[in-house]
């Protein structure tokens, strides 16, 4: 994992902990909505809006729909933040 990726995952961990109100939550690139109780469409939106605010980017509908796991989300963030 590169330094940039580590930074992204560290920020994402904070976001997931806040959204799911679980201070011990751990995330990994392969984590999907099915793995997390309560990860419904509302939580999905909370995660996306939080990511947008945290990284100062805007996620579009195509990007959001193509994400299958946390790794996909991190990849989009890395690409957008670098641009």
């Amino acid at each position: 994992m590169t330094a940039d990726q580590a930074g992204i995952y560290s920020a994402l961990t904070e976001i997931f902990r806040e959204v799911f109100m679980n201070d011990d939550m751990q995330i990994s690139p392969t984590l999907t909505a099915k793995d997390v109780p309560g990860w419904d469409s509302f939580k999905q939106i909370e995660i996306m809006v939080s990511v947008e605010e945290r990284f100062g980017i805007k996620l579009n509908t195509r990007e959001i729909d193509s994400m299958k796991c946390v790794g996909d989300l991190a990849a989009v963030i890395a690409a957008k933040a670098a641009a």
Binding site: E14, I15, E18, V19, M21, D23, S41, F42, I45, E46, V49, S50, E53, N60, T61, I64
Partner: protein, 628 residues
């Protein structure tokens, strides 16, 4: 766009939320404190979840306002707004439970007495209709006649909802205005296209304002908020398509605050007084150092004009009933000099109801201001450019609202306005006269100081108590007093316009409005009494008074009036009731002091007292009573 920018940011909010969640137990007080900081929507949801988990549906018993059961009825996704509404109410110390209709089923639920909505028994309802559903069938090919018919149909739907809600629940109604998220079709002259959905929304909002006034419904002016902050701050078209959330989650906390301030206003919990610092808040510079000529205020300097804008906004607030006070670390003579002598000052001595300039700490002075004005500390907003003083008051007097103050004075009026501290549902004649009334009070104080004894003072006031039964003319003020009087209020029963109209129509009840005049002026309507007769017993359902007239013998004079009217109705006994709240301890022994006998007192502090009218001898007073 920074929402809730008047609230102080809490850098450690996440840690405090985690700690509160872990600690559990009685979380209410700390949750109120956290709600007073600028939390984003995720932190807001977390705070709400903590309160739900640890406090459950049971708020602390001693809250100043009764719990609110709010039904949020609408046509799109509103789930994400419930937590922000509850947290914004928490910010004002009000407990709100919410109900959400099944998707799209609001009308059916309103009309069906067996619906979950009816089971919920709301005591407040918010209608939040999205622009798409209200503009169904409106398109650019419509002619003017068809567009007008569509507008009428939308109005009729909304009126039908209001009527069903009134019939079903008789509770206060709120209607959110419609958010115009439609792209323009013509452009600058959009109003020339009858079927423009954007223009349709504009017209519908104009109708809603007219109808809301006619039907006694309060508006949540989302259209104005979006006009101020920009549509993007409130609405995200992509999220609308994804989740049918018209108000984006990021704007949830701001939406919640708009709703909660209306709830607070209904409960008489709006702030009443703006306490102003002086140096670098009302003018630039330090009057004690720079002197009268050295302070920056007035035309010709950009900074001086900014301070003029602050003063003008404060004066406008005063003209509509907000009390102004001064709290400054200064020698009093120095502090007063600009008000008296500086030609460019907008605020003058007569605008300030209470002036405290000395070297005591500001918390002590703010306590003194609340005591002198006879209002609660939780009715005060404290404006000070100095972060040290702001933090001191936030720590020592957490019930006082202390907004963030930008370095640029020109931006201060907008912050104060956006914060919605002084939200008012309507204006009464008494509101317009408020500052003058506080000034008259000061003249009364001077008479009291110069009178050698209290009797001489009361005699010298030439008081006249003019009483009238409830009538449509006084109704606004009656409802306002019933809903905002907290201290001198025996039962704190809150009544709506409909309730007051029902009392007027009931032959076995009376509602009295009392106005006190004296040689210094008209105190306005200062007392409300509601009596209900059952056989020979007259139950005093409500007795409330403005604290401004305490110690003026109004209580015994009012009792004499109640006794006379009750006898006329055939009653032989009066029954008085006391229901304790956080704020009305001052009237705990009200009835006993007036000669009633205690007949019951409960462990929770409630008590009943009776007075036998046959043996009642009125206490002589210096008040002349007349029916007016």
């Amino acid at each position: 766009m920074q929402h809730l920018r008047w609230l102080p940011p809490a850098a450690d909010a996440r840690a405090r939320l985690s700690a509160l969640d872990r600690a559990g137990g009685e979380v209410w007080k700390q949750a109120v404190a956290l709600a007073g900081t600028r939390l984003d929507f995720v932190a807001t949801n977390r705070l709400d979840a903590i309160v739900q988990r640890h406090q459950g549906a049971v708020p602390p018993a001693d809250l100043a306002a009764p719990p609110v059961r709010l039904a949020v009825l609408g046509s799109a996704t509103l789930t994400h707004l419930h937590a922000p509404i509850r947290v914004a109410a928490l910010r004002r110390g009000i407990s709100v439970t919410t109900y959400e209709n099944d998707y799209g089923q609001y009308l059916q639920e309103l009309l069906d007495p067996r619906s979950a909505l009816h089971e919920f028994r709301p005591n407040a309802i918010l209608f939040s209709f999205d622009a798409r559903s209200l503009t169904q069938g409106v398109h650019a090919a419509l002619d003017a006649e068809a567009a007008a018919a569509a507008l009428q149909a939308a109005e009729a739907l909304i009126l039908q909802c209001w009527q069903a809600a009134r019939d079903g629940f008789g509770c206060p109604l709120m209607q959110q205005t419609v958010l115009d998220s439609f792209p323009a079709l013509l452009g600058n002259n959009e109003h020339r296209l009858p079927g423009s959905r954007s223009w349709f929304v504009h017209e519908l909002n104009a109708s809603l304002r007219r109808l809301a006034d006619r039907h006694g419904v309060d508006l949540v002016a989302l259209d104005q908020a979006a006009a101020r902050d920009g549509l993007d701050a409130w609405h995200d078209p992509a999220l609308w398509h994804r989740s049918k959330q018209e108000v984006s989650p990021a704007a949830g906390p701001a939406y919640g605050d708009l709703v909660a301030r209306l709830i607070a206003a209904r409960a008489g919990r709006s702030y009443k007084c703006l306490v102003l610092d002086l140096d670098n808040t009302l003018w630039g510079g330090v009057v004690g150092d720079d002197g009268l000529e050295g302070i920056v205020i007035g035309q010709g300097s950009p900074l001086g004009e900014g301070f003029v804008a602050v003063q003008e906004y404060a004066r406008e607030l005063a003209r509509r009933g907000v009390i102004l006070a001064v709290c400054s670390k200064n020698d009093e003579a120095n502090a007063r000099e600009p008000f008296e002598k500086h030609p460019d000052m907008v605020l003058r001595p007569a605008d300030i109801a209470c002036f405290r300039a000395n070297w005591d700490d500001k918390a002590a002075n703010i306590r003194a201001i609340a005591a002198e004005l006879n209002i609660g500390l939780d009715a005060l907003v404290f404006l000070d450019d100095n972060p040290f003083e702001r933090n001191l008051i936030r720590e020592q007097l957490p019930m006082v609202a202390v907004p963030e103050v930008p370095d640029e004075p020109a931006l201060v009026p907008a912050i104060l306005a956006d914060a919605g501290y002084f939200e008012s549902l309507r204006l009464t004649e008494d509101d317009r006269l408020r500052t003058a009334q506080y000034q008259e009070n000061r003249a009364r104080e001077q008479l009291r100081a110069s009178s050698s004894d209290i009797e001489g003072y009361l005699r010298g006031l030439d008081m006249k108590l003019i009483w009238k039964r409830f009538d449509p003319v006084g109704q606004q003020r009656i409802v306002q007093l019933i809903n905002k009087t907290n201290q001198f209020n025996l039962t704190t029963r809150r009544y709506t316009d409909e309730d007051v109209a029902a009392i007027m129509a009931d032959p076995d009840a009376f509602g009295l409005q009392l106005r006190l005049l004296d040689r210094f002026g008209d105190n306005g309507i200062i007392g409300i009494v509601i009596g209900r007769k059952n056989d020979d017993l007259l139950h005093i359902d409500t007795w409330l008074m403005s604290c401004r007239v305490l110690g003026r013998q109004v209580e015994p004079a009012t009792l004499t009036l109640i006794a006379d009217l009750s006898r006329e109705m055939g009653a032989t006994r009066l029954r008085g009731e006391y229901i304790p709240t956080k704020k009305n301890g001052m009237v705990r022994d009200h009835y006993v002091k007036l000669g009633f006998s205690l007949i019951a007192s409960e462990p929770d502090g409630r008590s009943l007292a009776e007075l036998d009218l046959a043996g009642f001898v009125p206490t002589p007073t210096f008040i002349q009573m007349t029916e007016g």
